[in-house]
């Protein structure tokens, strides 16, 4: 079996240089319901940090990742955060991955002025807590409104339906924004159906959607439910064009999936795996080499977050400041992050005054041909 669990990468094991190493924390759900997403981020972050260290680290000093699992639970996340800050004395933290724990941690981190960079939390409020909180991804309303516009303007849709996960902030946020833009545009929402976490049967909701017969069906959720819904929708003969979100990315790497049902899905994404840019291809290839699977958007963002963080720390070190746990150093790292202006896997990126990224958003279409499906770039649009 090619998929054997990797031993936790060397980053966690104490090595000779530990005393010297610069400690950066990573908060992610590695067990529990949302472990898949946390693991994708973790893998990518480790991949980049290893690469960064191999290339000399911060002027010879390696960065040591301290990875703590928070099970997707805010209480655990705050515990893990406190531990990173107080026991492990990290200089900065990458995380958290999903919205609610990120909120909990963000709130706690403000008082410490701890440099925090979430790779993936797309909820608009995440960066509102304090100046120390950054995100590497775009925000939910951006992609929802983009998708609504795409449906109305490019696809010529008149009616739309939404099926969303009512127990997940990410999904609900996307749904709200989509509905709002649709109303502004005059795209009629003919059905809004919800499901809960762990639901696997969507037939009841899809029956309602089917009888409303919308032109497009918006599915704002991660790729597993998205795939299941797509498949069951096909089974039930729903012909609406399916619209996904960044969470949809990765859907083609589901092992054993019937990819024909995914044909024609459009989704907004942070990057395009097929992008010919060198940085993207290197990342995709390295990731495949190490983990045996294609990186999804979460992984790409994890990689970017690590890249931004490492660069920020390096630039502080270059300025002659000692990298430690002091308030000055924290502020310096924060300043360095907000000054970021670099090309990452997900495109060229700077931060605005609210610590949100300014970058492009890719729209991907899945095309099924000759027994296999591929992502195709439909277009790039500036987010916000």
């Amino acid at each position: 079996a090619g998929n054997k669990t990797e031993a936790p990468a060397g980053t966690d094991a104490p090595d000779a240089a530990t005393g010297e190493a610069i400690k950066v924390g990573l908060l992610a759900p590695l067990t529990g319901d949302v472990a898949v997403y946390g693991t994708a981020v973790k893998n990518a972050v480790e991949l980049y940090v290893d690469k960064f260290n191999a290339e000399g680290g911060v002027n010879g000093t390696p960065i040591k990742l301290i990875i703590l699992d928070e099970k997707g639970d805010p209480t655990e996340a705050v515990n893990a955060y406190n531990r990173l800050v107080n026991d492990d004395e990290v200089v900065a933290i990458i995380g958290d991955v999903t919205s609610t724990p990120t909120f909990a941690v963000a709130q706690a981190s403000v008082a410490d002025n701890m440099p925090m960079l979430t790779p993936t939390a797309t909820h608009p409020d995440v960066t509102s807590y304090g100046k120390n909180m950054f995100r590497a991804c775009f925000q939910d309303p951006d992609q929802s409104s983009t998708m609504a516009k795409l449906a109305y303007e490019d696809l010529g849709a008149k009616t739309a339906a939404v099926i969303y996960n009512s127990s997940d902030a990410y999904s609900v946020g996307l749904k709200d924004a989509f509905v709002e833009t649709a109303n502004e545009l005059g795209l009629e929402i003919v059905a809004t159906e919800a499901y809960g976490k762990d639901d696997v049967a969507f037939q009841a909701q899809l029956t309602n959607i089917g009888s409303a017969n919308p032109d497009v069906l918006f599915i704002p959720d991660y790729y597993n439910p998205c795939y299941m819904i797509a498949r069951q929708a096909k089974d039930m003969g729903i012909t609406a064009t399916l619209l996904g979100v960044d969470g949809t990315d990765g859907v083609l790497s589901i092992e054993g999936a019937d990819k024909s049902v995914l044909d024609g899905i459009y989704f907004s994404n942070h990057y395009f795996v097929g992008d010919s840019a060198e940085i993207v291809q290197n990342f995709v290839n390295d990731f495949k080499d190490k983990y045996g699977e294609e990186p999804n958007a979460l992984a790409a963002l994890g990689y970017d977050a690590a890249m931004i963080m490492c660069a920020a720390i390096k630039s502080v070190a270059d300025s002659g400041m000692k990298i430690d746990n002091s308030a000055e150093c924290h502020q310096a790292i924060i300043d360095a992050i907000s000054a970021t202006d670099m090309t990452t896997v997900t495109g060229h990126l700077t931060f605005d005054e609210n610590n949100n990224t300014i970058k492009e958003l890719s729209i991907i279409k899945i095309v099924y041909k000759d027994g296999d499906a591929t992502y195709e770039l439909y277009g790039k649009i500036a987010a916000n």
Partner: protein, 290 residues
């Protein structure tokens, strides 16, 4: 025709609940244990089938058979190791151990196979047209299997020697021993049977919903357990009836009331039914003579 379609949807998911509920009811009926690990045994059964089919390339029938045997043995081992030492203690201790076992299985599988969901082939492809209605083949198989198993199990428990032994053990272990019944064997058998049922449920579940993951057992288990209680726990036909009722109720609330509130409404139905009929729809009230 949406109402009919919604009812069909309900029957399809309900038949899965029914099948899982049968396993709960079997074990509960004998050991009076809410076997929280039952959902996880289904999960393990699913992984077994998936692994043997898509990794080892075994044919479907062999994978299913293997899963049944594997789960039955697993169930018996769990009983021997984790439940038997607690047999004479408060039932709630047993409940906690069962929860421990379910955590363990869930996390062990996650450690071995990672958290990534795996896709499952549909073993029963195709669909069946009946009048104007379309049933997926796996739903038809699930419905048929759960009804057959319900009848088979009822006969087993009511009429066979081992069935009577099971009922006797469930009432009074000591006295059952005085009748010449080997309590250990009987309980082992019950767990084996219940877990074997779990494997069958696993296969049919996977066939209907295509996807497996380490946490899949908990919600399914919970819903099925609710179904078993609704039908009257300990009652075999009750479990099946409860499964269908929950499935249809769920589907109709999603279709006509609110898909966001569906879980709340289904639990509401359960509560109302239990308040009207405290021992479930087909459950026998406990006759305690004063």
């Amino acid at each position: 025709m949406t109402i009919l379609n919604q009812i069909i949807n309900g029957i399809q998911i309900g038949s899965i609940y029914a099948l899982v509920a049968l396993g709960y009811t079997m074990v509960y009926g004998i050991v009076k244990l809410i076997n929280f690990a039952h959902g996880e045994i289904i999960m393990v059964g699913s992984y077994f089938t998936w692994y043997t089919m898509s990794r080892l390339g075994a044919p479907a029938w062999a994978a299913v058979l293997g899963a049944v045997v594997f789960c039955a043995v697993l169930g018996m081992v769990i009983e021997k190791v984790a439940y038997k030492p607690l047999r004479n203690y408060a039932r709630i201790s047993l409940l906690i151990t069962a929860i421990g076992v379910s955590f363990f299985l869930q996390n062990a599988v996650q450690l071995i196979f990672k958290a990534t969901p795996r896709m499952f082939q549909n073993i029963f492809p195709g669909s069946l047209k009946l009048g104007g209605m379309v049933f997926s083949m796996s739903a038809v198989v699930t419905i048929v299997v759960s009804v057959i198993l319900m009848i088979g199990l009822s006969l087993l428990v009511k009429n066979t020697k081992i069935g009577k032994a099971m009922r006797a053990v469930s009432e009074d272990k000591d006295t059952a021993q005085l009748m010449g019944i080997n309590v250990d064997h009987t309980i082992s058998f019950t767990f084996g049977l219940g877990s074997g049922l779990a494997a069958i449920a696993a296969v049919l579940y996977c066939s209907s919903f295509y996807q497996i993951e380490p946490t899949m057992g908990s919600m399914l288990g919970l819903k099925a357990f609710v179904a078993a209680v609704l039908g009257g726990i300990g009652s075999i036909s009750g479990a099946v009836l409860g499964g269908f009722v929950i499935g249809i109720a769920e589907s109709l609330t999603k279709g006509y009331i609110s898909s966001a509130l569906a879980d709340a409404i289904v639990f509401g139905i359960l509560i109302v039914v239990l308040i009207i009929k405290p021992s479930g729809i087909l459950g026998r009230p406990e006759n305690e003579k004063v």
